[in-house]
């Protein structure tokens, strides 16, 4: 972008889309399509579903943007629509079942092996990546969505709270519990290397 080019704020673009301005809509799509697609993909793990969801989300924007009372909340509204659509897809496909959250994680059961010192080729192996993906997928939905939004998509806690209609402490708590569960899974997985190092 050339120096001095004014980048319109979301609120301005949203106001123009409400008036039927297709150039503003195009700018919104360019700004958010990757984020919408990425979030949908990381929830569904399905490229064609993510593309379909992305299209549906922006059609929903056109159909319902008039109901958005505060234009400043456009991004969080968009993420909420995306998240709902992605879980709607999973439920329709029956690929998602809510799991019972762990009320109390027994950290004493986890071996205190410091796997952070393992070499990168172990930590970043395809197998360990698969373990993490499966562990994220296995989280209860209430934690999974937040872990994806925060640790995969890099959204702020405040935006996640607004998107999901949760309080900030609730987001932090679920994020923490989700991370603890993931860490426990990784600790069990990587503990196999503890014996090899001790040998």
């Amino acid at each position: 972008m050339s120096k001095g080019t004014r980048v319109p704020k979301d609120t301005e673009l949203v106001g123009r889309v409400k008036q039927g301005d297709d150039h503003a809509m195009e700018e919104i799509v360019k700004r958010y399509s990757n984020k919408v697609y990425s979030l949908a993909f990381h929830i569904t793990h399905n490229t064609s579903a993510a593309e379909e969801i992305m299209q549906d989300v922006f059609l929903t924007v056109i159909a319902k943007i008039g109901t958005l009372e505060n234009d400043a909340y456009f991004a969080t509204w968009l993420y909420r629509v995306t998240t709902n659509a992605a879980y709607g897809f999973l439920r329709k496909e029956k690929k998602y079942t809510e799991q019972t959250p762990m009320d109390e994680i027994d950290h004493e059961q986890i071996v205190g092996f410091d796997w952070s010192e393992l070499p990168d080729d172990v930590l970043l192996s395809d197998e360990s990546k698969n373990i993490i993906r499966r562990a994220i997928d296995a989280l209860p939905e209430s934690m999974r969505t937040i872990v994806i939004m925060k640790d995969v998509e890099g959204l702020k806690n405040e935006d996640i709270a607004e998107t999901l209609g949760l309080s900030l402490p609730a987001v932090k708590s679920r994020l923490h519990r989700g991370r603890l569960m993931l860490r426990d899974t990784l600790s069990v997985y990587f503990s196999r290397y503890a014996n090899r190092r001790d040998a």
């Binding site: 039927g20 799509v29 952070s116 995969v152 932090k172 860490r183 990784l186």
Partner: protein, 78 residues
């Protein structure tokens, strides 16, 4: 600071959102507690690995263009 309180605050500690004196208390606790030190390292690494495990994905310019055409068409009919 004890291990239980440390664990409850770890999430905010890694994000540096705690008051400075609490951050310092946690660091002091980790100095004396090897188990919590390991827990901090593995917890932090879990966050890093979660980010790296999921493939970055993006859509093509063609897909964006097709979507823009569809939406412009839909807008014109509103």
């Amino acid at each position: 600071m004890n291990c239980k309180r440390y664990l409850a605050l770890l999430n905010e500690f890694v994000e540096c959102t705690l008051p400075q004196e609490v951050q310092d208390d946690i660091r002091a606790h980790m100095e004396t507690c090897p188990r919590c030190r390991v827990f901090y390292r593995t917890y932090s690494l879990t966050i890093t690995l979660s980010r790296r495990a999921e493939n970055t994905c993006c859509i093509s310019e063609d897909q964006v263009d097709r979507l823009c055409c569809l939406l412009a068409n839909r807008l014109s009919k509103k």
